[in-house]
């Protein structure tokens, strides 16, 4: 009934492969529906790391709950990249002084029409998180929440139970498409 992804690859024809690819591409768009239908198993919260002072940095310690879900290196890389973005936002240097002095000289009216450097970096971070979610986390049944939505206190990682999963864990992006089209293929085969 339920064919594994290997069987599927062996038995599919090019036409079916094309539809598989289409399924894979649309899986991102189906993400919202999947999130609503998949059940939230648990959430993990990555806390702030204050060893460098009050600047915004998050701990890169790998939480045990994610052990079976994502590779340690991928996770650490994501958190380190986020940390570097925040460090860039809070960097004290020539450009931040210039911005501060210019703003002061205009009695801060300039902020009514200009975005601060920090806000620009936060937008970059939000795009990065969305990209990471689409490429890396969603296929593994995880969802990263932008720390800005949590008051910059934590990185919230939601762990979802994939109800269509056959129980076999396949690595990479094939897991999402494999399980969802495995279900479809299984249903079709019956």
């Amino acid at each position: 009934m339920w064919s594994s992804s290997a069987d599927l690859a062996a038995t599919t024809e090019p036409g079916q492969m094309a539809s598989l690819e289409a399924t894979e591409e649309t899986k991102v768009h189906n993400l919202q529906e999947l999130r609503r239908s998949a059940s939230l198993a648990t959430k993990v919260f990555i806390q702030r790391d204050y060893s460098d002072g009050t600047i915004c940095q998050f701990q890169t310690k790998f939480p045990p709950e994610l052990d079976s879900r994502i590779e340690r290196q991928l996770f650490e890389e994501t958190v380190k990249t986020l940390n570097s973005f925040y460090a860039e936002a809070e960097k004290i240097g020539g450009s931040s002084y210039l911005e501060g002095c210019l703003a002061c000289a205009t009695a801060y009216f300039i902020f009514l029409c200009m975005e601060t450097h920090y806000e620009k970096v936060l937008k970059k971070i939000s795009r990065y998180i969305q990209e990471q979610n689409e490429k890396i986390f969603a296929p593994r049944g995880l969802l990263l929440t932008d720390p800005v939505e949590r008051g910059m206190r934590v990185i919230e990682i939601s762990i979802y139970e994939d109800r269509c999963s056959s129980g076999s864990s396949s690595s990479g992006s094939s897991s999402g498409s494999g399980s969802s089209s495995g279900g479809g293929g299984g249903a079709g085969a019956r």
Partner: protein, 364 residues
């Protein structure tokens, strides 16, 4: 299949935010609940300056130089702008933990400390961190259900945790924290200059005019001068002293809160790990450093909860729910623990040069 469009007033997040703040202009303005003294500040500044521009400036512009009212106007506008910025902006409030996060932290704490039997007060929750080779303790806030970042403190007047909490200032009607400290400092600085300026030119005006028509006649002609001089005189002592105090704090990268508690002074205390050791660098960081935006998202739209209508697709955040009122748990109570309420920093600290004068703030 058509989507039913519900024409309903959207609920913005500020309407459901916990804490004792008031919001105006649909969430754009954020202040404390008690605004009476702030109105007094506004009245004093506006009143004195109006008198100055209306009477003294007219004479001085003609007799001495038209630059006098121009410069006064610039100072006045700058201090009003910084006052309004200080009063209306988010001081750096840390949003309360959502239930999931609070539960997660609770679990972590229990894992480290062990469960407390019901009825007993749990021990104060402290985490130790090392910053720049010095140990800094993080305290757990029972109201907000978070471990407060270093330098953050809970304001009992506004009932919020504020980052880099300095003090709650009733004169500006808001807390002074990370996001509005520079505006506050510039406000008191420009107010000091304005006070000195108006005071000085009032004296000059009285002196010049007295030469022509006599002292008493001058006072009879512009009785407002007496009022201005009085207000300026009393304001000078308080505001200029406060400016000096905050200049000292800025140079050392300290907050009023830390100064009052003596966090970094004393023999057995650690040195301030946030100071760069260099006055110029400290000033630059505090006054011209990067300004983090507000994380409160006051104007975000809360999702509709009616069944039968699809929630609008233009949700501003994916995470929807705000922290509801604290869920009572076995170990936590929503009332402040003694360690939080007894700390002096949350009461409005006395302005350092304690003026015995009643309520005279603005100048001129």
């Amino acid at each position: 299949m058509s989507v039913m469009v519900v024409r309903k007033k959207v609920t913005r997040k500020w309407e459901k935010l916990p804490g004792r703040n008031t919001f105006c202009c649909d969430g754009r303005v954020m202040m404390a609940r008690q605004k009476g003294i702030f109105y007094l500040t506004l009245f004093l500044i506006l009143g004195t300056c109006t008198l100055f521009f209306a009477f003294e400036c007219r004479y001085l512009a003609v007799q001495l130089s038209p630059a006098i009212p121009v410069f006064a106007a610039m100072l006045f506008l700058f201090s009003m702008a910084t006052l309004l910025r200080t009063s209306f902006s988010d001081p750096g409030v840390i949003p309360r933990a959502l239930p999931d996060e609070a539960a997660f932290i609770e679990m972590e704490i229990e894992a480290t400390n062990g469960a407390v039997p019901q009825g007993q007060r749990p021990p104060p929750r402290i985490k130790n961190f090392q910053i720049n080779n010095q140990i800094v303790k993080l305290k757990y806030c029972y109201t907000c259900k978070i471990f407060r970042p270093p330098r953050a403190s809970h304001c009992s007047i506004c009932d919020n945790c504020v980052e880099r909490f300095d003090h709650h200032c009733p004169w500006v009607g808001n807390c002074v924290g990370k996001r509005n400290y520079r505006y506050f400092y510039l406000f008191i600085l420009s107010l000091s200059l304005l006070t000195i300026y108006v005071f000085a030119f009032n004296i000059v005006y009285v002196a010049l005019k007295s030469l022509k028509i006599g002292f008493l006649e001058t006072l009879k002609e512009t009785p407002g001068t007496v009022l201005e001089v009085l207000i300026c005189f009393f304001t000078l002592w308080s505001v200029v002293g406060l400016t000096g105090f905050h200049t000292f704090l800025v140079a050392l990268n300290q907050t009023t809160n830390e100064d009052i508690k003596g966090s970094w002074t004393g023999k057995n205390r650690v040195q301030n790990p946030y100071s760069h050791g260099n006055i110029v660098k400290n000033c630059c960081e505090v006054l011209c450093g990067p300004l983090p935006p507000s994380v409160l998202d006051r104007r975000g739209i809360l999702p509709l909860e009616e069944s039968g209508s699809r929630p609008p697709s233009t949700q501003e955040t994916s995470s929807s729910l705000l922290p509801q009122s604290p869920v009572p748990t076995d170990h936590l109570s929503s009332s402040e623990m003694p360690e939080d309420t007894s700390t002096p920093e949350e009461m409005p600290p006395p302005e350092p040069p304690e003026p015995p004068q009643e309520g005279t703030e603005a100048e001129k």
